[in-house]
């Protein structure tokens, strides 16, 4: 028997703890995610691909991509601006600004969608005005984009701010001293330094934009082929008991989620490598 350090647990305790943890993850993570693929392929590959190439599925994928393509860049601009203001300047009310950025994280997705229905819905504050102008926001694509922007709003800012704060202002000050303009400093010094944080923020923001369900569900109206994003399309299929198709489309989102995790690992690996080098 080997002696164990006084600061470690007995072997049987360690094994037991690992086994319990693995059992927990199996129950809550591995079986459910495995079942998504199992159910999706339960009627064979032909059915699987038929569900993915269905015109409604195609429309849902297109709408999801358009939504992400609009929401993510806007939130990137905001995130960079907010990070520049917060980490490179001192002003009163900074704490308030940071709290506002975190706000959407604390709000139920349903409420995130609800607020836009209250603003632009038929019985909403601007509802009558919009009806007169024949502009449709709720139960239409603009509402979906607005709700997505709301829920993905903090991601980029939250990733860049800690990195930029940690890097400090010295490099920017040096660049400015050497005669660089503000924009030159930003694009040649700040942005390269924060690029991995930015990349990670964009990945998280995109993943959430693609996968958001609650908020989008409230404003969408679930019009097939028109206002269904991929998660909503899954819900519609599921509620119509087209389970195999629902799970087939869901595998796409599982793959997006797994890609997100891979990207995260890659970023932390690249960052660590840079520190060592």
């Amino acid at each position: 028997m080997t002696a164990r350090a006084a600061t470690n647990e007995a072997l049987w305790v360690r094994v037991l703890l690992v086994v319990i943890a693995l059992a927990f993850l199996t129950l809550f993570l591995f079986i459910p995610v495995g079942l998504v693929f199992g159910e999706a392929l339960s009627d064979g590959l032909a059915t699987y691909f038929a569900a993915l190439t269905d015109p409604d599925a195609g429309a849902a994928i297109r709408l999801t991509l358009i939504t992400a393509a609009i929401a993510v860049p806007l939130n990137v601009v905001f995130g960079l601006a907010a990070a520049w203001a917060i980490t490179r300047h001192d002003f009163r009310g900074k704490g308030f600004l940071v709290a506002m950025i975190d706000l959407p994280f604390a709000i139920s997705p349903v409420i995130s969608g609800l607020v836009f229905v209250l603003l632009f819905g038929a019985a909403g504050i601007f509802g009558p005005m919009l009806a007169e102008a024949d502009v449709h926001i709720v139960f239409a694509v603009p509402g979906i984009i607005l709700a997505t922007i709301f829920v993905t709003f903090p991601y980029v800012a939250r990733e860049i701010i800690p990195t930029m704060a940690a890097k400090g202002r010295d490099q920017e000050l040096a660049a400015l001293t050497l005669g660089a303009t503000g924009f030159q400093t930003f694009f040649r010094v700040t942005l390269p330094n924060a690029r991995w944080a930015l990349f990670h923020g964009v990945v998280l923001c995109t993943a959430r934009a693609v996968g958001e369900f609650g908020a989008v569900s409230v404003v969408s109206g679930h019009i097939r082929g028109e206002t269904n994003t991929v998660p909503l399309h899954i819900e519609v299929l599921y509620n119509e008991y087209q389970l195999t198709s629902a799970f087939a489309v869901a595998t796409l989102l599982v793959l997006v989620a797994l890609l997100t995790l891979v990207a995260k690992q890659a970023v932390s690996w690249l960052e660590n490598r840079r520190v060592v080098a």
């Binding site: 600061t7 809550f28 001192d90 600004l97 139920s108 349903v110 607020v115 799970f247």
Partner: protein, 292 residues
């Protein structure tokens, strides 16, 4: 523009604090514009809309039996799930930081999956697992337990959603605990469990509380993963977000807003308490830092 200075008796021309880095106006302007447009205006609309109800109706909407049951269910199941996550989150963080076993790196990466997985997918996947025909659901049914379409189902979904928050809050703090602390405890004759409960756990308490609060806050508002597995029976398995959805579908905008308003107050209360707690923690010297 500058006429205001003439009214006061010529203040000594104090130079405005010198800002060596340009762009405050532009960056702050973009930030405030975007926050105002995307966050503040919608939330003001929510408050205005709920205030369209007179006090009596408002009170009635948020305190009728169905609403109270939904609030109790939302907050209750989020609390139970957060407590479960406290234990398993600590366990997972512990084995990931302290032990070396094959597949540890993969496990560490996969912990974030519930955050990355769209909630609707989580909902149907968990329902397939714990539902009457699912592999786990069948086993539960044999024991007379209904996994899906029950309150247990809601807790299961919230455990799934909340677990990364606790693990990721505890992990860095656990990594930072100096081995000398545990060595000292062992030298002084503490058993391993005494060291854990009297030395390690107190150092982790703030992180555990942070993770707990984050998991709880997320669980209270969760919608996507819950609606599939809960069955959404009024007074039984109906959470507040679903009740809000129902009111919206009935075009009861003000009632939906009132329910949401009360929920927001609670959520902000939790966030505020968390913020206060973190500030208090920063003021106290942590064991971890004191020994560094």
């Amino acid at each position: 523009m500058n006429s205001s200075s003439s009214s006061s008796p010529a203040p000594a021309k104090r130079p405005r604090s010198y800002r060596p880095i340009p762009g405050l106006g532009l960056s702050l302007g973009i930030s405030l514009f975007w926050i105002g447009l995307v966050v503040i205006i919608p939330l003001v609309a929510l408050v205005l809309m709920s205030l369209r109800l007179d006090a009596e109706t408002f009170w009635n909407v948020v305190t009728n039996e169905r609403a109270l049951m939904a609030y109790a269910l939302s907050f209750g199941s989020a609390l139970v799930a957060a407590i479960i996550n406290l234990f398993f989150g600590l366990l997972l963080a512990w084995i990931l930081v302290r032990y070396r076993f094959p597949g540890r790196g993969l496990l560490d990466a996969i912990i974030d999956l519930p955050l990355a997985l769209p909630t609707a997918v989580a909902g149907i996947a968990l329902t397939a697992t714990f539902g009457p025909h699912g592999p786990v659901g069948e086993m539960l049914a044999d024991m007379g337990i209904q996994g899906a379409y029950s309150r247990l189902g809601i807790v299961i979904a919230l455990v799934f959603i909340g677990i990364p928050f606790v693990v990721r809050a505890v992990q860095p703090i656990l990594k930072d605990i100096q081995p000398e602390l545990e060595e000292a405890a062992a030298t002084l004759g503490a058993t391993r469990s005494q060291t854990f409960f009297r030395v390690i756990l107190p150092a982790l308490r703030p992180a555990l509380l942070t993770g707990f609060a984050l998991a709880f806050a997320r669980g209270v508002g969760e919608y996507g993963s819950v609606v599939f597995i809960s069955g959404n029976l009024p007074n039984k398995t109906e959470i507040v977000p679903f009740l809000i959805m129902t009111k919206l579908e009935q075009y009861e905008y003000s009632q939906a807003a009132a329910l949401a308003f009360v929920m927001l107050i609670f959520s902000f209360g939790i966030l505020f308490a968390l913020n206060r707690f973190e500030k208090a923690r920063r003021r106290l010297p942590r064991i971890v830092e004191a020994t560094a």
